[in-house]
């Protein structure tokens, strides 16, 4: 049973309760990881609505398959794997995305909110947008696995061993993917400059 304040319970305890059918315990896990989940989905999609849908879908899949979670990895690693697989599937379904249009959609927002950064000058904004567009274009050209490794490392700060666990691959393979991704990005950005 989860302690009187579920928010203070550890992941393991919450998972045990959720596996027994206590949905509220799983909702605490959702609250705990929703921002991280959203951010990684956003890294893959660069679209707010898509990122929201993908991260929510990952939570739903985790909830449905929770009884099969064998605790060999932590809940977060297991959940990350579900999310990354969904993101990779999304990339396969969508193919190469028009990053320019996605950047526009993100920057204009959906009317609900704005990016919480101090307003830059028009020049800075233009330069920032141009750089963002170039980076988006360069990232879009990476093969899905290289891109996934790069995003998990560069954007999420996961260690090589964590990425290897999430992606079910050898550490050497992950290092090779990261190396190729960084070199390809560097080359593309140099070409675009």
């Amino acid at each position: 049973m989860v302690s009187s304040r579920p928010e203070e319970s550890g992941d393991e305890e919450l998972v045990t309760s959720a596996q027994r059918g206590e949905r509220q315990a799983f909702e605490v896990l959702v609250d705990r990881y929703k921002q991280k989940a959203y951010r990684i989905a956003f890294d893959f999609t660069r679209d707010r609505e898509e990122a929201k849908d993908l991260s929510q879908e990952a939570f739903l899949q985790a909830f449905s398959h929770l009884k099969g979670f064998d605790r060999r990895a932590s809940f977060y690693t297991w959940f990350y794997r579900i999310l990354v697989n969904l993101c990779l599937d999304y990339r396969r379904r969508r193919g190469r995305i028009s990053w320019e249009s996605l950047d526009e959609r993100t920057e204009k927002g959906n009317g609900l909110d704005k990016i919480a950064n101090p307003a830059p000058s028009p020049d800075q904004q233009a330069m920032g947008e141009e750089l963002s567009r170039r980076i988006g274009a360069a990232l879009a050209t990476l093969p899905p696995k290289q891109r996934a490794v790069f995003l998990l490392k560069n954007h999420q700060g996961l260690s090589i061993s964590e990425i290897a666990t999430v992606m079910k691959a050898a550490e050497g393979t992950i290092k090779a993917h990261l190396h190729r991704a960084v070199m390809a990005l560097r080359q593309r950005l140099t070409e675009l400059a």
Binding site: R23, D31, L112, I115, L131, K153, S159, R186
Partner: protein, 180 residues
């Protein structure tokens, strides 16, 4: 290790991967010391590392949605979880008899029931009633088998007879060859 410098890539080939891991602080112990000692003597690799330091952080596109977004997010995911939960409970109720454990349990119970029935009602159940004509045939077949059996005895008798005759002949020949 040999330093093969590629002007296009900017860093020594053998150190490229380790420099990237070094940048991410994901290289420890011997590898880290190896990279650090190399950086002291190699200007190209130092430039490569500086380039990574300016390029890679710029690739991170942050998005910080407002609290309103997160409220809407939480409402939506809760509603979706309730639906999924209700669906799974309904499905659990429907699929209960087909779950992995009830199937062998029911099969075992059935086998036990049949075994107990057979044990306690032994002899009361006319399982195999042979029609009268078939019964006669079966009896005839057993008589035929018996005849074959006795025939084999006759054969053995004749063997004994032969042996007896041979024995007598042998005795005769022995007595005729005895020296006078």
């Amino acid at each position: 290790m040999a330093e093969r410098h590629d002007p296009l890539r900017g860093a020594c080939k053998d150190f490229e991967q380790d420099l990237i891991l070094y940048y991410y602080q994901d290289c420890a112990g011997i590898e880290r010391r190896r990279v650090e000692s190399h950086l002291v003597s190699c200007a190209s690799c130092r430039r490569f590392l500086e380039e990574l330091q300016s390029l890679l952080p710029a690739t991170v596109k942050s998005d910080e949605p407002s609290p309103a977004f997160w409220q809407s997010y939480s409402r939506e995911i809760r509603a979706r979880l309730v639906t999924a939960d209700e669906k799974s409970r309904w499905w659990d109720a429907i699929s209960f008899p087909f779950r992995p454990w009830p199937v062998p349990a029911v099969a075992t119970a059935l086998v036990l029931a049949v075994a107990l029935t057979l044990t306690f009602t032994k002899g009361r159940w006319p399982f195999h009633q042979t029609p009268p004509q078939e019964r006669e045939l079966v009896e005839m077949a057993s008589v035929t088998d018996n005849l074959d059996f006795f025939n084999s005895f006759d054969f053995l008798d004749s063997m004994d007879l032969l042996e007896a005759v041979e024995g007598k002949e042998m005795q005769k020949s022995e007595t005729s060859h005895q020296p006078l």
